[in-house]
Symmetry: C2
Subunit: 457 residues, 2 copies
């Protein structure tokens, strides 16, 4: 072990218990990667703090020894956010996994960053509440905040940034700040909440997160609508949005991905372009919404629409949707997942998906298209052989095509996965001179570049 690491570990031993510090190769390896195709890289040491004070002291020790700091939730990210390419200290938040406070009347909850979204929803259920942001993985709230995650319900309930009320953050100098408050809105000072949500560990470490939560809807109906073409499915989405129907979920799954759904669920749904929908509301209103939707999809040659109000069956359906990336990963062992993540104005969505589908067909790689199409966000999932550099190049060229298409039509290179290492190359193209503003903020808050180097910027 290098002297600098040894000295840092000695300092860490002064403030942490022995089982909170690890240089064990297996542990280092677990913290060297995420769930994507991005190359792995080992941290020098992994620490497991239990409170904000420990996080602050770890950051100060890192700064003293000029070691980089990488915050780590569960490693379920998809653009290499947690991979420590410059090594240093990885802070794993798995011991900070408590739901600290549930305030039913205020519809807010305070959690530690290591709480996972399923753990949170299990706790909230007792109070008739739920938290709607649901990326595919059972990610940590800290990670979801860092990447500004969204998911299937954002079309109705918003993304992480819309649902974070307050953050406790440890900054590069070890100081601890709060970025918001517990009120529903505020016009006081600059909006640090929104700045830190989506900052991907480049500005500081979150130690407490206050979230907005929601009452479990009185009535829920799910629907599965099968179409002849992907284009008709997407056009139906646009029409439903135009009609002002407040859908809670609106997911597209293409033919190859329906094959995966059937395998994963042991179901025999038609393997055609399919919309998964969900409606939340009071009984009477919901009935009217559902009837109106049924009318609209018929205009787009919907083959079949099937409604589901049974809770267990509904959950099974959404589990299948959530596990689609894993279904691909399991079906193509030995290959790794590359997933595009653009988001466009909804008027551009049909064209974008058509373009992606044609390009995907020329790749001759296993994969499919799914998406949170109510938001204009879709993913092309491709299973790549990371040993084959030509294949990687081909897949990356495809990803670039998708991004170019989106950026030229007013969209973004990432709707929900974040920049990490994978989308850093598109930041100048997307943001132009605004990237300089982002860089100057990074420099003002983290002048030595302590936090998560190489990500975003």
């Amino acid at each position: 072990m290098e002297t600098v690491i040894k000295n840092a570990v000695t300092d860490l031993e002064d403030i942490l218990q022995n089982d909170q510090i690890s240089t064990n190769p297996t542990i280092l390896e677990q913290h060297s990667k995420d769930e994507s195709y991005h190359k792995s890289s080992l941290p020098d040491v992994v620490v497991f703090p239990k409170c904000n004070k420990e996080v602050s002291e770890i950051v100060q020790i890192a700064a003293k020894h000029k070691l980089h700091v990488t915050p780590f939730g569960l490693g379920s990210c998809l653009e290499g956010h947690v991979i420590p390419y410059e090594h240093g200290i990885t802070i794993d938040f798995s011991l900070m996994n408590k739901v600290l406070e549930i305030r039913e009347k205020d519809f807010i909850v305070k959690v530690q960053p290591g709480v996972t979204r399923k753990q949170l929803n299990n706790e909230l259920k007792k109070y008739g509440l739920f938290f709607p942001v649901d990326p595919g993985a059972n990610a940590t709230i800290g990670g979801m905040t860092a990447t500004n995650a969204s998911g299937t319900m954002s079309v109705r309930y918003g993304i992480m940034r819309d649902n974070v009320r307050n953050l406790e953050v440890v900054l590069a100098d070890g100081s601890i700040i709060h970025t918001g408050n517990s009120a529903a809105k505020s016009s006081s000072g600059l909006h640090l909440n929104g700045l830190f949500v989506g900052s991907e560990g480049t500005l500081g470490c979150f130690t407490e997160i206050t979230l907005k939560v929601y009452g479990i809807p009185e009535h829920i109906t799910a629907a599965r609508a099968s179409f002849q073409t992907i284009n008709e499915a997407v056009e139906a989405v646009v029409a439903i949005r135009q009609a002002g129907i407040p859908v809670a979920r609106m997911e597209l799954v293409d033919e190859p991905s329906m094959v995966q759904v059937n395998q994963h669920m042991d179901s025999n749904y038609q393997e055609v372009p399919t919309l998964f929908l969900e409606f939340h509301g009071n009984e009477a209103g919901l009935k009217q919404d559902v009837a109106f939707t049924e009318e609209i999809v018929k205009d787009f040659n919907c083959i079949e629409i099937h409604f589901e109000t049974d809770n267990a069956k509904r959950n099974q359906l959404w589990d299948a949707r959530h596990n689609l990336a894993y279904a691909y990963i399991h079906a193509y062992r030995g290959r790794k997942l590359m997933v595009t993540d653009v988001c466009l104005p909804i008027s551009e969505l049909a064209g974008a998906i058509h373009h992606a589908r044609e390009a995907l067909d020329t790749l001759h790689l296993p994969g499919g298209i799914v998406g949170h199409v109510g938001d204009g966000n879709y993913h092309a999932l491709i299973m790549v052989n990371t040993e084959d550099s030509e294949e990687i190049q081909k897949a990356e060229a495809f990803n670039k095509q998708i991004v170019d298409y989106s950026l030229s039509r007013g969209g973004t290179c990432t709707g929900e996965h974040g920049v990490g290492i994978g989308k850093a190359k598109y930041q100048q193209q997307e943001h132009g001179d605004a990237l300089n503003v982002m860089k100057s903020i990074k420099k003002a808050l983290d002048p030595t570049g302590l936090f998560n180097p190489g990500k975003i910027f």
Copy 2:
């Protein structure tokens, strides 16, 4: 005229037409104040640019001559945001007042900063769309973006920050950036959109604003519910929120303010604590929501609840609510308006309003309490004699009491009016060390302190 001003005007004359530059005393006086009790201060010169290029050149001329820049919409703000205490150049955006693009399918609209909210809604109506953020005044979209305004519909549709998709901003060096894109969501880069919304002209000048807009609801019902006590009215609000009824508006008006409403509307509503409510939705769902609400308010000894579906009468009702501040101003000529603006977690709202009411009664000044109570945001309006320094002191002490109460209970010093000069003194108390982060961002983006000095920081 000072030499420095003369030289600046000479430079301005090179890039603007003569009628776009004014040092006329009446024009200067119009740009020396807002609608509040805050002391006025004259700019040296007022300019009226017509495009982003002119704004950029004005900013560069100001920088060259070391003159401060203050952006100005309509001057309807309430905390002195547009008052140029350090003089310099005021940029009036009234000639940049075009709705540039309406994209119905995407539910977005691009406007220049000088467009007013009523002007925008008149344009949008033709497309069956509306923009929900509605501060009392017919403010400009630029000003509403600068203060992160909200209003009566934020409980359902969010605040300015939730509804701004993209901003074109002229920075202190004259460069022009875009802070977002036209997609419904993004996880790309740091969130500059949210940072610039609510920055009160301290970080740059907005030259284009892209907003999220909404379809006009299929059905709308308004309601006016009268209560015996203000406490019961507030408790009813909490209960309606708890029940998960998606109210679109939820406004409290106290007894003295109902007197103003009656005078202004020539109506004879009961002069008791009153909730103004509104429901948006499909016909069936709305009926069920309304029936449920009626049941709930009865539990809180509601004296009378009256529903209104007629469009004209409904608009009249909301006009009365919107014009309340003006009603007070007209009723007490010679006095000026001071208005508190705290926002608290909703569980703290009843206590806060009770506390405010008791404190207000001891002041013996004309005034009342109104509020966007669905958000936990309320205002005490007080009419003060600005010639009487003792009275001003008394009113300011009252404002401080209200703020202290809010901050000690997890709230904020300003829910929607912004900081300006009036709430700058509470920033350290509210934000603690986070204020240093805000200051370092200000310094990074505007190192010479060109923009709107003395505001927020």
